[in-house]
């Protein structure tokens, strides 16, 4: 089923044309990886899915992005509700200076959930989904900063999951982590795919190959090639894609 539907999207920062005529369909319960050299527009594109570029001075877009059939840039769309639907995990773990429990419960409180039992249940559930529960269940009141980098990143994933999104956007979620934590995050992404649609920006080519179903290669604001990950990494159709995945440019 088509879930994210992008039609002829263009994006500009002032006069800088950063995304050019991008069209793409992303299916539900899949992992899609965006790859490409720095400045190719992949993060800008990812951030358009939860309208994070809206407040950047001079940002302008053309074309439309539909999620589950709804135009997310329609005036009637409330950004807070959109971001509840579409969670985001960043490159660097960014827990709040609060306890582990309060971090996981943060979104729920913002949403106005007051029922303590419900909050507790959803925190536990999201920490379990983020494969962190067993490691933190006895120290939920400890500061999130007492966790390792990998644990902090999984806490951020739990925080995103607690508000029951359907899509999770990840911008290089494992680039600041060691190989063991990276492997845990990748394992987690593979498990989360069963319930969520995941879009990930990564500079790690092997990571894209390991975890994604489809891969999109961007270069200078253009979507050069979008296809099954196995095809992109074995028989790319475009010479630029081949040069990039084999490390010959970028």
């Amino acid at each position: 089923m088509k879930f994210i539907d992008v039609n002829e999207v263009n994006a500009f920062y002032g006069s800088n044309h950063v995304l050019k005529d991008i069209s793409m369909e992303i299916k539900e319960n899949t992992v899609t990886a965006f790859i490409g050299p720095s400045g190719c527009g992949k993060s800008t594109f990812l951030r358009m899915f939860n309208r994070m570029n809206d407040y950047i001075d001079g940002f302008r877009k053309e074309g439309d992005i539909r999620i589950d059939g709804k135009d997310i840039y329609k005036k009637s769309v409330k950004i807070e509700e959109l971001r509840q639907e579409i969670g985001m995990v960043f490159q660097k773990p960014n827990p709040f200076p609060k306890s582990i429990f309060e971090n996981a419960a943060y979104g729920l409180k913002i949403m106005g959930v007051r029922n303590k039992k419900e909050i507790q249940e959803r925190v536990e559930k999201s920490l379990k989904k983020a494969a962190l529960w067993d490691e933190v269940k006895d120290k939920l009141d400890k500061s999130a900063y007492s966790l390792s980098g990998g644990q902090q990143q999984r806490l951020c994933i739990a925080r995103a999951l607690a508000v029951k999104p359907s899509i999770i956007l990840m911008d290089e979620p494992a680039s600041a982590l060691d190989p063991i934590s990276t492997s845990k995050i990748e394992e987690l992404i593979t498990e989360l795919k069963l319930q969520y649609t995941i879009v990930i920006v990564t500079h790690n080519m092997q990571q894209a190959a390991r975890i994604s179903d489809k891969t999109a290669f961007f270069y200078m604001g253009e979507l050069i090639e979008f296809g099954k990950t196995s095809q992109i990494f074995t028989t790319p159709k475009n010479k630029q894609t081949e040069n990039y995945v084999t490390g010959r440019f970028g």
């Binding site: 190959a209 074995t234 790319p236 081949e242 995945v245 084999t246 490390g247 010959r248 970028g250």
Partner: protein, 220 residues
Amino acid sequence: MVTLDPELQTLKANLLEMIDLTKDQLTKCLHAIETNDLSATKDVIKKEERINNLELDIDKDCENILALHNPVATDLRFVLAALKISANLERIGDNSKNLADFINKNIKKSNLAILSNFNVNRMLLVAISMMDDIREAVQHDNVEIAKKIAKKDDELDETTKKALKVSTKLIQADPKNSTLVLKTYTIIRRLERIGDYIKNIAEEVVFHLDAKVIKHKKSN
């Protein structure tokens, strides 16, 4: 990201050396038959070890590239192809050594005369020409020449078919010759296998360059 080019160049250089050595084995066998020169066949037997060692070097190169560089796309196909190409070349080397052994033991003119009934010289010439094509295909990434190699192999297959009939006739004409005729037929079979190995190599070159698997597919 560091490119793989230096490693791939080394791998290619080793493959080309192996191709040259293997072709040289066939050329020397032909020379020995044509001139009764035993030194050529002795050289074939001696050089076989170098071919085996190159296969081991290529195996190691490929293992390192796979483990350390995670090649993808054309690079991955080249590494996979190189592994199979070197294995096929090593078998060509083995068969050439057997051919050289046979020539050594039957170098007497009267025995070698039998070979003329079987077109052994012609088969060797075809195999050598196929090796030239393989070198060109590997060295210059020439996929077109690789695609044409199968056609040349057809001649070797055809000659082998005829050789069975020739063997039967020769044995019927003079049963005393049966051992030598059967041994010669074995050599014909080895040359036919050499053709198959070269064809396999050509298929690997096509896989590398065109990302197409053509083996086990009958040509129309």
